[in-house]
Symmetry: C2
Subunit: 447 residues, 2 copies
């Protein structure tokens, strides 16, 4: 575990501060002070003089809260682009590869590559769910990322548990290891209603009532397969079945939420459930478009997720901004819905709210944890800037992020990642990919 630089002071000066506080306060020439893990002061005008402080002269660059990726499968970066455009790739490649190769080592390799990419791309908080999730927690601890790590439970003979009892025991291990970690929060993650079943969802709901500090993560209403499962078995929507199990609670983070009718949205709203929308993953799979505007109008907290690299390919949130915006505008037939500033809120403070971390992160305010990124404005494609949120949503790219800090600890300075060894992370991931490629050749030959 990282030993925080107890009272080290860092002073960001000449920053275009985008605080993302409730009033959307921005200071075009601002400063911000960090003491230890915490933001202690900020403002415009002359910065305070603090002997011994580390000064970061930002030269007019954007300084904003680190982004919150509300849905990811970090271990899966080793699948990035595998079987792209192949309609049956899940059953043809992915499930067989997962059964054969998913191990603590593979999860560690994939998660380290993902952590590296997210740090470079401006993500400082991530909600993850996969197998051997203690490994993901350990990688996030080393990388210095704020994280919610969810042990997946499923009935389809997943790689790390044969029974739900075994799955629960993995969750208990995770809670034992990370229950008191300052940055890594353990989580329980039923895969989806159809792959968990109503009875096991009810068991998880009971377990969750006894563990109120442990967030629950689940895929919900992602596919017509799931909708059909709920209709055929219960004559109801998948949201209604989940509600009956007792799982619809404010500590439930629901990913995808595509196959929703208005009654489902009302039910989600009554229970104040949180949503992680994954526009690129959903669009690329041709699965559909989440009704984000309707969810927001119903008062639901909505954050943005990258999904795994197998589905969305990149894990930064800039890649999600144009899709999430365009989808809302296309549904409405107007350029007005989901303004750029709101998209940036979804990626920061609203995402933090989805993860119940909004008192700690997601905005730059005194007393909050110092989760901060700096974005270079050097690239000509970023100019002119009429509205910084438009620039962030439609022109900024992960390569523009130069600095990243979580709880006052530097993860990256001047594009150099300080908490992970990039060469080792890449080497380990490519070694896994080589085994995948050999197995894919064997699969294709045996067809």
């Amino acid at each position: 575990m990282h030993d925080p630089q107890a009272r080290m002071t860092v002073l960001f000066t000449n920053a275009w501060l985008l605080t993302l506080d409730d009033a959307m306060t921005a200071h075009e020439r601002g400063w911000l002070q960090v003491d230890g893990a915490t933001i202690t002061a900020l403002g415009s005008g002359a910065p305070p003089v603090i002997p011994g402080a580390e000064i970061v002269d930002c030269d007019g660059d954007f300084v904003m809260p680190g982004m919150v990726n509300t849905h990811c499968h970090m271990g899966m970066s080793v699948f990035r682009g595998l079987g792209e455009d192949v309609d049956d790739r899940l059953y043809r490649y992915i499930l067989p590869l997962e059964r054969k190769f998913v191990s603590p080592e593979m999860v560690r390799a994939g998660s380290a590559l993902s952590a590296l990419e997210m740090i470079q791309g401006g993500v400082t908080t991530v909600a993850d769910m996969y197998y051997f999730e203690t490994e993901v927690g350990r990688v996030c601890d080393q990388a210095g990322l704020r994280a919610i790590v969810g042990q997946t439970l499923a009935d389809f003979d997943p790689p790390d548990h044969k029974t739900f009892d075994e799955g629960f025991s993995r969750v208990e291990d995770l809670v034992a290891e990370f229950g008191n970690h300052p940055l890594v929060t353990p989580s329980i993650a039923p895969h989806a209603p159809y792959s968990t079943g109503r009875e096991v969802m009810a068991r998880i709901a009971q377990w969750s009532a006894d563990h109120p500090a442990v967030p629950v993560q689940m895929h919900l209403a992602e596919s017509t397969l799931e909708v059909n499962w709920a209709q055929e078995n219960y004559g109801k929507s998948t949201v209604a079945v989940t509600a009956e199990s007792g799982l619809l609670k404010p500590n439930l983070i629901c990913a995808h939420c595509l196959q929703f009718d208005d009654a489902d949205i009302t039910m989600m709203s009554e229970h104040q459930v949180c949503v992680a929308t994954n526009p690129r993953s959903n669009g690329k799979a041709g699965r559909g478009i989440a009704p984000v505007e309707k969810l927001l109008n119903a008062g639901l907290p909505v954050g943005i997720g990258s999904d795994g690299a197998m589905s969305g390919n990149t894990l930064d949130l800039f890649s999600q901004f144009a899709p999430v915006s365009m989808f809302a505008k296309l549904i409405a037939g107007s350029r007005k819905p989901l303004p750029a500033a709101q998209v940036v809120r979804m990626a920061t403070i609203d995402g933090a709210r989805v993860l119940s971390l909004n008192l700690k992160t997601g905005s730059l305010e005194p007393g909050k944890q110092a989760d901060i990124i700096r974005i270079s404005l050097d690239a000509p494609r970023l100019h002119p800037i009429y509205d910084p949120y438009s620039t962030l949503v439609f022109a900024t790219m992960p390569s523009d992020v130069t600095h990243s800090m979580v709880a006052g600890r530097w993860l990256m300075r001047d594009r150099k990642v300080e908490t992970l060894d990039p060469k080792k992370a890449l080497r380990d991931a490519l070694q896994v990919a080589e085994s995948f490629k050999a197995e894919m050749r064997a699969i294709d030959q045996n067809r």
Copy 2:
């Protein structure tokens, strides 16, 4: 005009060559030889030994044809992000600003910023249409870009002609200046059917028959406004009205093509008209989705355009890849349509076909012009690579492009643009933006 390095030899070695030829030949460890303006040889295995050649050791990076941006308004980069999310921004801001500020100087400033961004983002050929278009031609000449530059004709009191006669005279000037240019092709660009009218479209069609080497560019079926205009005035589709004018010919490049029914597509196909789809611009405006799969199935050449930075914000084609893919997959409800390799073809050889430049550019083949980019594979987000086209479409970003060459001339080496002064381009554009900002404040105060 640039004086070509007559017989200078450049040898790319250790390249992951993606030729985009008909067979989609790729060499994972390949080499490519350029003599003067032309690709003279390529292959895998040991490269030839050529004394005095400039050796570019690509260290396994992708080397591929430069991209072809089939629809742009280069002068408009100074409008980037202006009035984002404001539904009436065209009438509230853009037309008043254009009437007041569009001048040769403004067009030069905007075009230089656009040229800089496109070189950095891997575009080597661009089809442009705007006002004072000789300025755009001059900027492209200086920047070293291959370009089709189209003088716009319109009836709404545009900034550089009061009558169509004046517009035609600007076209004649453009043809006189660039008719024999090796890289810059003059073009005539009726703005759209509704803003040109059937009679003037017919006059342009006649003029075009006398000038077969001059491509015609036009916005087509972009909005319901245009559809209504055609229905109300002629009781027909906008494509049918255009066909009657005689303008539907293989040398017509049609941008957008959103409001198409099957009969329109058949008509376009019968006339072998070319299409430039602009997915980000259309999505951001909430205007709709072009039926790209249907157009391709009808045998129409379809390229990708960025549209102006006012509409699509960025001018590279990587930004268009995920949208164009997702839209096709969402329409079909499957991840299969428009595979990644086909998207890359649309951005290169198919785009060149749309511009009738496919004998010169768009693929790496001996005898073709040396329009080449190199793409670094350093970023962790690009790995693993199971399929280079998937990597290009869903993970590569403009910041990964390190080298760009057009007709054997270096435009950029190791991220350093060699044909333009980036600082001056940015300074000039920001100066224009300051006048825009002052005028916008005045507009908002007078409402």
